[in-house]
Structure formats: structure tokens, C-alpha cells
């Protein structure tokens, strides 16, 4: 549907694009992390692209699965990407859309922030930070947005225990009190 966007992207920023895909009317471009800000700025400002509507920003935690496009024979290594950041963009003027994806390894989970380009990504990146612990570099106010400051860990990561709670307050007379050390 928007193949011309992918073609233009590859023509202008060929070195920044790792690979592209196109499925069910959605065009996806995997971008190298260091080039994300330049590519996004070009997508927003170029007259033929004019992506003026940010749709969503989120993250996929693959844990030890194999992300799309990577052969199973590759095996696990420390530098293998665990997280995929997705930025879905849309152009209201040209009626086309594209998804930018950035792959991040677990030990180096940081990504350039697009909140300065599209203000709507401000809270979405805070949510992604809150739930997955991705550090968005250059974000104006990177704090937790849903959970409280005392919360430890990132609840939507696949290795967060499913029913682990971190209570703020409990009654004193509970038979099993998760606030007390002997019940933890």
C-alpha cells in the first residue's frame, strides 16, 4: 500500500535501514538505532513523506524467542536483540503509513526518543519505559506513568513473575502480610 514510502526511505537513508517487510497493507522498516532520529526527522519534514500523525509507540519483549527474520540457527547470545520498539506513523496529507522498528539487546536497552518530534509520543514513551524499562534518550521527562515510584522492576517484561505484587499499604492484622519480612 505504501511501498513507495519504503522505496524512498531506502533511496535516501539506505545505510540506516536494516531490512524492510510488507504484510497485509503494513509497511515495516527496521532502522539502526543510531540513525533513528535522522530518519524520523526526515519522515516528518520531507514534503513527499509528511508524517504528521503519530499513531502509537510500544515495545515487544521477545525474551529468548527468535525475532522475525532471524534464523533459528543463530542461537542465543548476549548481543541478540530482546526488545523491539515500534513506532507507527501516519500521514494525514498523503494517506500513507509506515512502522519503524528498532531492535535492542537486553543489556543495552536504550533508544533515541521521538518525543521532541511528535509530542504525542511523550506519554507513550513514558508508558513503554514504565512497562518494559526502555531508556529513551533525549526524552524531556522520563518517569513512570502508571506504576508508583516505589515499584521495582518492569511488569510487562516476560520474565516478571505473573502475580508478583508490590503493595504500598496493608492491614496490620493480616494472617499473611506481604509487607512483613517473614512472609515475603
Amino acid at each position: 500500500m505504501s511501498q513507495k514510502v519504503l522505496d524512498a526511505l531506502k533511496a535516501v537513508h539506505g545505510a540506516a535501514v536494516e531490512r524492510t517487510a510488507s504484510a497485509h497493507g503494513d509497511e515495516i522498516a527496521w532502522i539502526k538505532r543510531d540513525n533513528l532520529l535522522a530518519v524520523a526527522t526526515w519522515l516528518r519534514d520531507d514534503a513527499a513523506m509528511a508524517f504528521d500523525a503519530p499513531v502509537f509507540c510500544t515495545c515487544i519483549d521477545w525474551l529468548d524467542w527468535h525475532p522475525v527474520g532471524r534464523p533459528p540457527s543463530e542461537g542465543w547470545s548476549e548481543d541478540k536483540p530482546r526488545f523491539t520498539i515500534c513506532y507507527q506513523l501516519r500521514s494525514q496529507t498523503h494517506k500513507h503509513r509506515i512502522r519503524l522498528e528498532v531492535e535492542l539487546p537486553e543489556h543495552d536497552a536504550r533508544c533515541p526518543s521521538l518525543a521532541e518530534l511528535w509530542g504525542a509520543f511523550n506519554w507513550q514513551e513514558r508508558e513503554t519505559f514504565d512497562m518494559y524499562g526502555i531508556r529513551f534518550e533525549g526524552h524531556p521527562d522520563l518517569r513512570r506513568i502508571y506504576m508508583y515510584e516505589e515499584f521495582v522492576g518492569y511488569p510487562l517484561r516476560k520474565d516478571y513473575p505473573k502475580e508478583k505484587r508490590q503493595p504500598l499499604v496493608r492491614r496490620d492484622d493480616l494472617p499473611i502480610n506481604p509487607m512483613k519480612a517473614e512472609h515475603k
Binding site: 511488569p155 503493595p167 492491614r171
Partner: protein
């Protein structure tokens, strides 16, 4: 806790008989003038509105006014899911209410956490505050709420509410300390 909570009506009657005439009269007045504080957090609030509205009309039982200040109310209705983040707010609202006070857990989320068994939802508001009557249902029918209201009124009359028992226990301990 060291306080026996009886459940059968016969035992209720026995406790009722033990009260003084003044206590009976006070509790009779209390049970027909419950002022509710709706701590509405989720979809059960629709059902609460239905109960408070003219068709089911909780005002028939004297619980006429929802008061939006905890200091003016003596019945806390926890309506809907309580998250861990809301726990301190719920405890603060409960602590600000004047004694004696009662709590109804409205719906299965407020009672047990319901189907939210995850990192953010509290497994029942009784983790933070003592609850007198639990109403199951997702959401409960208004008839169930009225039934719980009647149960609570019986409990108020017989002096078995959590805060009533606590006040009585404290007064007994205080008088025993005075006697030496």
C-alpha cells in the same frame, strides 16, 4: 484478633439481648441513617447508580445521601477494582471517617480482586481496611446490594460491625485499666 464474630441469627439475638437500652436505641438510629461514601473506581459504579436511583432506591433503607466527604459519612462502599497504587488513598479515606463506621465491598473485584490477578490489582480491599459485608457478582444485581444493606443493618443493630466491636473492646480495656 481475639474478638468472636458470630454468624447465626440466634447468636445475634443473644448479643442483642446483652445490649443496654441506650445501645439498642443508638444502634437502631444508626442502622436507619447510614450515610454512604461511594469509593467508586470502576464499572460497578453503574450498578451503584442504579441502586441509588429511583427504581431500586436505597433511600428506602435510610441510606439516602451519598456524601462525598468521608468526614460526613459512616458507610464506605468500595465499588470496583482497587489497585495497589490506590491503597494509600483508600486507607486514608477510611481513616478520615468518623467512628463508628462500616465498609461494604461492592462487587467481586473489591472483594477478592476478581479476575485481575496481576501485578497492579489489589486482591480485595480487605487487605487494607476491615470489611463488614462482601457482595459478589460482576457486577452485582441491585437486589444483591439491597440484601447486603439489610445484612449490614442487622449487623449494626446487633453491634457486630468491625468498628463497633473495636470500640467496645477498647472501652472494656480502658475500664479494666482504670480499675487497676
Amino acid at each position: 484478633m481475639g474478638v468472636e464474630l458470630s454468624t447465626t441469627r440466634l447468636e445475634d439475638a443473644a448479643k442483642w439481648a446483652k445490649q443496654s437500652k441506650l445501645e439498642q436505641a443508638t444502634n437502631w438510629g444508626r442502622k436507619f441513617s447510614l450515610f454512604t461514601y461511594p469509593f467508586v473506581t470502576a464499572c460497578c459504579g453503574m450498578e451503584f447508580m442504579s441502586v441509588a436511583g429511583p427504581k431500586y432506591d436505597i433511600a428506602r433503607f435510610g441510606a439516602e445521601f451519598p456524601r462525598f466527604s468521608p468526614r460526613q459519612s459512616d458507610l464506605l462502599m468500595v465499588v470496583g477494582t482497587v489497585t495497589e497504587k490506590q491503597g494509600p488513598a483508600l486507607k486514608r479515606v477510611f481513616d478520615q471517617m468518623a467512628e463508628p463506621k462500616w465498609v461494604i465491598a461492592f462487587g467481586v473485584c473489591a472483594s477478592t480482586g476478581g479476575f485481575y490477578q496481576n501485578y497492579s490489582a489489589m486482591p480485595g480491599c480487605d487487605q487494607v481496611i476491615p470489611v463488614d459485608v462482601y457482595i459478589p457478582g460482576c457486577p452485582p444485581r441491585p437486589e444483591q446490594v439491597l440484601d447486603a444493606m439489610i445484612m449490614l443493618m442487622e449487623r449494626v443493630q446487633s453491634g457486630r460491625g468491625h468498628s463497633q466491636l473495636r470500640l467496645k473492646r477498647e472501652s472494656i480495656i480502658a475500664s479494666a485499666a482504670e480499675e487497676g
